[in-house]
């Protein structure tokens, strides 16, 4: 979507709405990571054991082994924080989008909104197949193909050398 001269071809409204979407998702994921980091008793164990659907056994196995669970907890907390910061600040934006999609896909696969499936984990809405995780994944896919890190974000300062090339 970049013009050949390296200047965005988005209209100002398109640019700002994409940036706002990016920041909102960044804020959300960053806070999800931070609350887990600040709560020493937090673990993904309960969530993983509550898994349903095709991949449930894989998630149970992650939870059953304490050392694997420790790694999962660490990757989840720091994954969320780094992805959140990336999206919020517009730094390594594309990598952050991909990381966010991977994390959200794991949550989606562990708790799919299937017919006849109930979770111990309470949800605040009503879902069938499509849930908030899936919508957030789709939004990150949009941000992946309509990048804004250089237009409003630290990517613009970091990657000035490639200013003429496509966004990274």
């Amino acid at each position: 979507m970049n013009g050949t001269n390296g200047i965005s071809s988005y209209t100002p409204a398109q640019t700002w709405l994409l940036v706002i979407l990016r920041m909102l998702i960044g804020w959300h994921l960053l806070y999800e990571g931070v609350v887990k980091l600040w709560n020493p008793g937090w673990s993904a164990g309960g969530y993983l054991m509550d898994s349903q659907g095709l991949f449930a056994n894989l998630f149970y196995k992650m939870a059953a082994n304490p050392s694997v669970l420790g790694v999962v907890d660490f990757l989840n907390v720091w994954g969320l924080i780094l992805v959140g910061l990336g999206l919020l600040l517009g730094i390594f934006t594309r990598l952050a989008c991909v990381g966010g999609i991977v994390l959200l896909a794991l949550y989606f696969l562990s708790h799919p909104a299937l017919i006849g499936v109930k979770y111990a984990m309470p949800t605040e809405g009503s879902y069938l197949f499509v849930n908030k995780n899936l919508i957030e994944i789709a939004a990150l896919c949009v941000l992946l193909v309509f990048p804004t890190g250089k237009m409003a974000g630290l990517d613009g300062l970091l990657f000035r050398k490639t200013v003429d090339g496509p966004e990274t």
Partner: protein
């Protein structure tokens, strides 16, 4: 690349740093929210000052191998022996299959990783040969095979025996425990400790005189949350406790003691006279043998089987002892199958002098009622509640405390909005950081009563294993056990008061000085087979 491309102009900088104020807002917001939550939490925690309790220290298992025997290798006996390291070959095969089918099922893994207790199963006693042989198979390892007995008296003569685990029907407990300590063996006996009133006193005196280590099988005494509950009650977190609500809710055949009648059980494979012991002499009856809990002649009904769990759980927390009086009522309303013990059973125990201090003015800190309500025809979980002037404690695997709107102690907290009455004021979950996979309503019921698992440092441990380990450690290292003779005496007498009340229709009173029931004559007790 030209110079100009490296120059950051004002416009670029603004664009690049556009998100910084948003990050600032995020940090301020997250910090403020965290401060707010922490402040409220800390104020409540400082006020309650609850420390998760640590269990009694138990010692090392080093030294000579302890030689243990089992009397009564039934369902419970099998679990007890497995807990000290002797799983039956059938159980191992079943668990292997289950683990292959369900990755959530970690029972085999947990068993294999369990600490080795340096014991040998040297003797197995069962009146039913098939079960005796299964016990021998469980204890057979490395070329060693335990000796099999039908008669416990013969087994107790065995010099290769230091300690016995007794898991027989209730009416055989007292004669076996007394014979065992007289033969110099340490004893672990299942609940209910005894079957009748007078033998409870006789057992007490015999064990006391022997100086041997005695443990009653209330494994929930190892439950982390109950130990913590004891601490918080002492700190008057609940204020004066005036009512306790406990209950049993089951609605399945197994829960109603409709156990399997083994196809090989017959007068040739079962020593019927040994089973009857001091019970009324009747001809061989396979249903009486395999479903003994359904008759007062062998079992202690809901009193001895399930009230004792709840009674001892509360006694572990409050140390309230034997009630001054007890009334019970109920009937057989669901399982009209020839049994003579009730399947709906309510017990009210009075403790007019019970006190643990108060947060109110003097005169409002004495007296408490313990209510036990049970049915074998409905399994809705009603929860265990300790109700005090200042708060109510839900006692289970977790501890949940609800402040009382009329509390004296938390008056200011409630007025200042620090305590929100809509939600619990405090919750203690020993599983924090751990994972739980208790499935099924009955399993959940047992887990909540601390009968299956407890947690040490967030890791799930079989509470039966801990309870047996504590007993073995006490034999080796001479420390106290958590459910010893005093606790057992209180448990048995309280349960018998409930049974006697139900069966005589009297409100039964206890004479502590003379260790007998005050208002029930020996003739009346003999008439119901409970003298």
């Amino acid at each position: 690349m030209s110079e100009s491309k490296h120059t950051i102009n004002r416009r670029d900088a603004i664009k690049g740093l556009a998100a910084i104020p948003v990050l600032g807002a995020f940090l301020l917001g997250a910090d403020a929210k965290s401060d707010h939550d922490d402040e409220i939490k800390q104020e409540i925690l400082d006020e309650l000052n609850i420390e998760p309790a640590t269990p009694n220290p138990t010692g090392s298992m080093n030294g000579d191998v302890l030689r243990v025997g089992i009397i009564g290798y039934g369902g419970r006996g099998e679990h007890l022996i497995r807990s000290i390291g002797f799983a039956s070959p059938k159980w191992l095969a079943d668990m292997k299959e289950n683990a292959a089918k369900d990755p959530k099922d970690t029972r085999l893994k947990d068993y294999l990783e369990q600490e080795k207790l340096n014991v040998q199963l040297t003797a197995v006693c069962d009146a039913f040969d098939v079960r005796g042989e299964m016990g021998v198979a469980a204890g057979t390892a490395d070329g060693f095979k335990p000796k099999q007995y039908r008669d416990y008296r013969k087994m107790l003569e065995d010099p290769n025996l230091d300690a016995v685990v007794i898991a027989t029907p209730d009416h055989l407990h007292a004669p076996m425990v007394i014979a065992a300590v007289q033969a110099g063996k340490h004893v672990y006996v299942e609940k209910c400790m005894t079957h009748k009133v007078r033998e409870t006193v006789e057992l007490y005196d015999a064990v006391k005189k022997s100086g041997l280590v005695f443990q009653l099988g209330h494994q929930h005494r190892q439950t982390a949350s109950f130990l913590t509950a004891r601490e918080l009650v002492k700190k008057k977190v609940l204020g004066h406790i005036n009512l306790i609500q406990t209950n049993t809710n089951r609605n399945d055949d197994n829960g109603a003691w409709q156990w399997e009648i083994h196809e090989k059980g017959n007068p040739q494979t079962i020593d019927w006279d040994l089973f009857l012991g001091n019970a009324p002499k009747i001809p061989f009856n396979a249903e009486h043998y395999f479903r003994w809990r359904k008759w007062w002649a062998y079992g202690t009904g809901l009193s001895g089987d399930l009230l004792t769990h709840d009674y001892d759980r509360i006694n572990c927390v409050l140390e309230m002892g034997i009630p001054a009086s007890c009334s019970a009522s109920g009937g057989i309303y669901t399982h009209r199958d020839g049994r003579d013990v009730p399947d709906v059973f309510q017990v009210v125990m009075e403790y007019p002098d019970f006190t643990m201090g108060a947060t109110q003015e003097a005169g409002k800190e004495k007296g408490m009622t313990f209510v036990y309500s049970s049915t074998l025809g409905n399994q809705y979980d009603r929860g265990t509640l300790l109700m005090g002037h200042d708060a109510t404690l839900e006692l289970g695997e977790q501890l949940i405390i609800h402040a009382d709107p009329q509390s004296t102690r938390y008056k200011e907290f409630i007025e200042n909005g620090i305590v929100n009455l809509e939600v619990p004021m405090y919750a203690y979950d020993p599983r924090a950081k751990g994972v739980d996979a208790v499935t099924g309503a009955t399993a959940k019921y047992f887990a909540n009563k601390g009968l299956m698992y407890t947690y040490r440092d967030g890791k799930r441990v079989d509470s039966t294993f801990l309870h047996l380990r504590e007993w073995l450690s006490a034999i080796r290292n001479g420390h106290k056990v958590s459910c010893g003779l005093e606790e057992g005496f209180q448990e048995a007498i309280s349960a018998h008061m409930a049974s006697v009340s139900f069966r005589t229709g009297k409100r039964v009173e206890w004479d502590a000085a003379n260790r007998k029931l005050k208002n029930v004559s020996d003739a009346e007790l003999a008439g119901i087979g409970m003298l």
